[in-house]
């Protein structure tokens, strides 16, 4: 690295970085916990709620099969929600901090 190092601690303290950090943390871990809980509902349901999974909804199509298919939809929706917010919001915030990196707190 030929260029002088930015002052990392100062960037970390910068309110813009703190905002990015707070927004990202709450959003990402929220989605993560939701996804994991939703996923484990499938094996738990298949093992302990078989009567519910066997209920027929549309012809032979039952709750269990619909729930398994919904896992795919939910995974895609979570990915889309994250990608949209990151593209729209997080990327711009990160780019702004990166652009000003050498100004924040002065270079070492």
């Amino acid at each position: 690295m030929a260029s002088p190092q930015p002052d990392w601690a100062a960037i970390d303290r910068d309110p813009r970085f703190q905002t990015l950090h707070k927004k990202k943390t709450a959003f990402l871990w929220g989605l993560m916990v939701f996804s994991i809980v939703y996923y484990f509902l499938l094996p738990v349901g298949a093992a302990y709620f078989q009567d519910l999974f066997k209920v027929k909804i549309w012809g032979p199509l039952n709750v269990g099969l619909l729930f398994a298919l919904s896992e795919f939809i939910v995974a895609w929706v979570v990915a889309a929600i994250y990608a949209k917010r990151a593209n729209r919001e997080f990327d711009a915030m990160a780019a702004e901090i990166a652009r000003d990196a050498h100004k924040i707190g002065g270079s070492k």
């Binding site: 690295m1 993560m32 032979p60 896992e71 990608a83 901090i97």
Partner: protein
């Protein structure tokens, strides 16, 4: 397969069962030329890609990371190509064709795994990493220590995964076209080495993209042909599934005596309900944990994120990968149901007990059957795609191991990062050749071995050793070198040790008991009432009694020897040619069963303990994740809290700012 079915992944069933299938391949001799033509075409295409790529690969960044110039969309296809092994294509479609719902449920975890990759792993790793898992862990920790342990872990995980692929590939090619196992393994090894050594990550990426496209196109065509007769209606095809005679019979067989009071339609509906294959919920949750957390810790998947120019493209590549992988698993549902409807579970089992031949035989049927040119062309195409799949997956694994060996160990640890660029590329190529030769040797040495537990072990080690270390070094300030060392060692070893004590391994006493039952039959049994578990620990370890379901009374069953004798007497009296043929075919099957049981008895004669000295499994689950993953996390935390590491804490601000902003991230190479 029954209770002893290894069910970690489709690979498990796929690998364990293919071994039993003998014969000269599913393709008849007169159509072999067609198979070779399709194989030749696909191999020629990949060789052309490699030749083109070899002209672009000069620096380490080009060799390990394709110059970081792969687009997010391309990388999404390449991730799918890296991830969708023959096990998913053949194994899961096969499981669905035999067990319905449970087979499909199996595939969900493989997609959900990418949520973890997308949300917390891909972008930070792209921002702070260079080529390997070791680079990520070494960022703020002792570089030599963490690079060494990361390299050992990478090579271990990759070799487990790779051995399963090599053995599975050898068996698959033999089953499909009758080429000798050893020849197939060497063929896979040599091809894969050519891609990696000459074309590095550039060729590997494009081979994976081509293979993923072939796989998706083949599946789409087959699903269109399967589904069209039912007007592309989901209830339409399901309606035919539940009224299908062959499927109803298979379900009745799986359920045994409890099927006695069910109507044919109830039996058919049962195929769409859980519980025909996966029977132990704790084991399933344990498997789910390993899948969802392990994928993000697989070194060959992590490595793919260094091939894109920046974090935004890394994000895009995971989203594309999720679309392709998820879409593909939805297709497998129709492939499996289509095979069950058109070929029938009984015929699929006759070819391969694990159901791996379901997709290839369905392809043959859809093309017009075993005697038609189109049928055999379809079969050849599916076989060639399966072959390309194995080669592409193995190439990615070899590249990951070679980068750990050359970049982490040789350049990072031995040379202290003072190797010239030329030395680094040479080291990478030499390491690839070494790993490739090791892969071929292991593949041949493991012929006929039970390797079903190896893919499970790879995921478990990745989830218990690699993921806690990566996650905590990225997100927890106090995490340090000591935590990473302790966590990776304890996490990985506990996962391996638990699998070695699990029901995945072969136990001589069980084999001998089963073989004897086949030969001599089983006496009548009285009903046994259900037994309650003595506690949660008892469900995991064989230290006390676990829960057992009630067993109904069973009548005595004659052994195969007795059945064969009766059948032979009957054959002597038969005159109707159709009946005679059927009786002779049944006799052939019985003879095969007897031969296999006798071989098993001979192989395990006098043995009471298996290769780790156990008579029966000490660990009751097949998947260790439920214990080893929390243990891995705990040890990273414990090691970090017990020992201080000033550098790790001092570097925290830099790591945290850089992973979120991409400042000073490794850039793309301009072409």
């Amino acid at each position: 397969m029954g209770r002893s079915t290894p069910y970690f992944t489709g690979a498990a069933a796929f690998l364990a069962s293919g071994l039993a299938f003998a014969g000269e391949g599913a393709v008849a001799d007169q159509w072999k030329w067609l198979t070779f033509a399709v194989f030749g075409g696909i191999i020629a295409l990949t060789m052309y890609i490699t030749w083109r790529a070899s002209k672009r690969v000069h620096s380490t960044s080009e060799f390990y990371a394709a110059g970081r110039s792969v687009s997010g969309f391309q990388n999404g296809w390449a991730i799918a190509g890296d991830y969708l092994s023959a096990a998913s294509f053949l194994g899961i479609a096969g499981l669905i064709s035999l067990y319905g719902y449970d087979g499909f449920m199996y595939s969900v975890g493989f997609l959900v795994a990418y949520i973890t990759v997308l949300l917390v792993i891909a972008e930070p790793c792209r921002n702070i990493g260079k080529y390997t898992l070791g680079d990520i862990l070494a960022f703020r920790n002792d570089p030599k220590k963490t690079k060494t342990i990361a390299a050992i872990s990478t090579i271990t995980v990759s070799i487990f995964y790779l051995t399963a692929q090599m053995v599975g590939g050898g068996v698959l090619i033999k089953t499909l076209i009758g080429i000798d196992y050893e020849v197939s393994v060497i063929g896979v090894g040599v091809l894969m080495l050519a891609y990696v050594v000459f074309g590095g990550m550039v060729a590997t990426t494009w081979v994976q993209i081509v293979k993923a496209i072939l796989l998706v196109v083949a599946s789409l065509v087959m699903v269109a042909l399967v589904w069209a007769p039912y007007g592309f209606s989901l209830p339409g095809i399901l309606d035919h599934v539940i009224h299908d005679d062959g499927i109803q019979k298979e379900v009745a067989k799986l359920l045994g005596t409890s099927a006695a009071n069910m109507t044919p339609e109830e039996l058919g509906q049962r195929f769409l309900e859980p519980g025909l294959f996966l029977k132990n919920p704790i084991d399933q949750i344990s498997l789910g944990m390993a899948l969802v957390l392990g994928t993000a810790g697989l070194p060959h998947i992590l490595m793919r994120f260094f091939t894109v120019p920046n974090a935004q493209e890394a994000r895009k590549s995971v989203v594309w990968a999720m679309v392709i992988i998820g879409g593909f698993y939805v297709l497998t549902l129709f492939l499996g149901l289509g095979a069950a409807l058109n070929v029938g579970p009984a015929n699929i089992i006759a070819l391969d007990k694990g159901g791996n031949m379901a997709a290839p035989i369905l392809a043959q049927y859809l093309g017009g059957g075993a005697d038609s040119m189109m049928g055999n062309f379809f079969l050849a195409f599916v076989a060639a795609v399966a072959f390309a799949t194995i080669v592409a997956v193995v190439a990615g694994l070899v590249l990951a191991s070679a980068s750990a060996m050359a970049h982490d160990i040789y350049v990072g640890v031995i040379r202290g990062n003072h190797a010239t660029p030329n030395e680094q590329v040479t080291a990478a190529r030499v390491a690839s050749v070494i790993v490739g030769i090791v892969a071929i040797v292991i593949g041949i040495a493991a012929k006929g071995q039970n390797v079903a537990h190896l893919v499970g072990m790879a995921f478990a080690v990745a989830a218990s050793g690699n993921l806690p270390a990566v996650l905590l070094t990225l997100y927890w300030k106090r995490c340090n070198t000591w935590g990473i060392m302790l966590g990776m060692l304890v996490g990985s070893f506990s996962a391996i040790a638990l699998v070695m004590m699990s029901p995945n391994l072969t136990y001589p006493k069980t084999v001998i008991k089963d073989a004897t039952a086949v030969l001599d039959g089983t006496p009548a049994k009285e009903a046994v009432p259900a037994k309650a578990s003595e506690g949660f620990v008892c469900e995991l370890f064989a230290v006390c009694r676990n829960a057992e379901a009630a067993k109904p009374a069973a009548e005595a069953k004659p052994g195969a020897v007795e059945k064969l004798a009766t059948l032979n007497q009957k054959i002597a009296t038969l005159t109707d040619p159709a009946e005679l043929d059927k009786a002779k075919a049944d006799a052939g099957k019985l003879e095969k069963d007897i031969k296999k049981a006798q071989d098993d008895l001979k192989k395990f004669e006098g043995q009471t303990t298996n290769l780790v000295g156990l008579e029966k499994p000490f660990f009751r689950l097949k998947n260790p994740g439920i214990i080893s993953i929390p243990l891995g996390f705990l040890m990273v935390i414990l090691g970090s809290l017990l020992f201080r590491d000033k550098r790790a804490e001092a570097m925290w601000d830099e790591l945290y700012v850089r992973q979120h902003t991409g400042i000073q991230a490794e850039g793309a190479v301009a072409h």
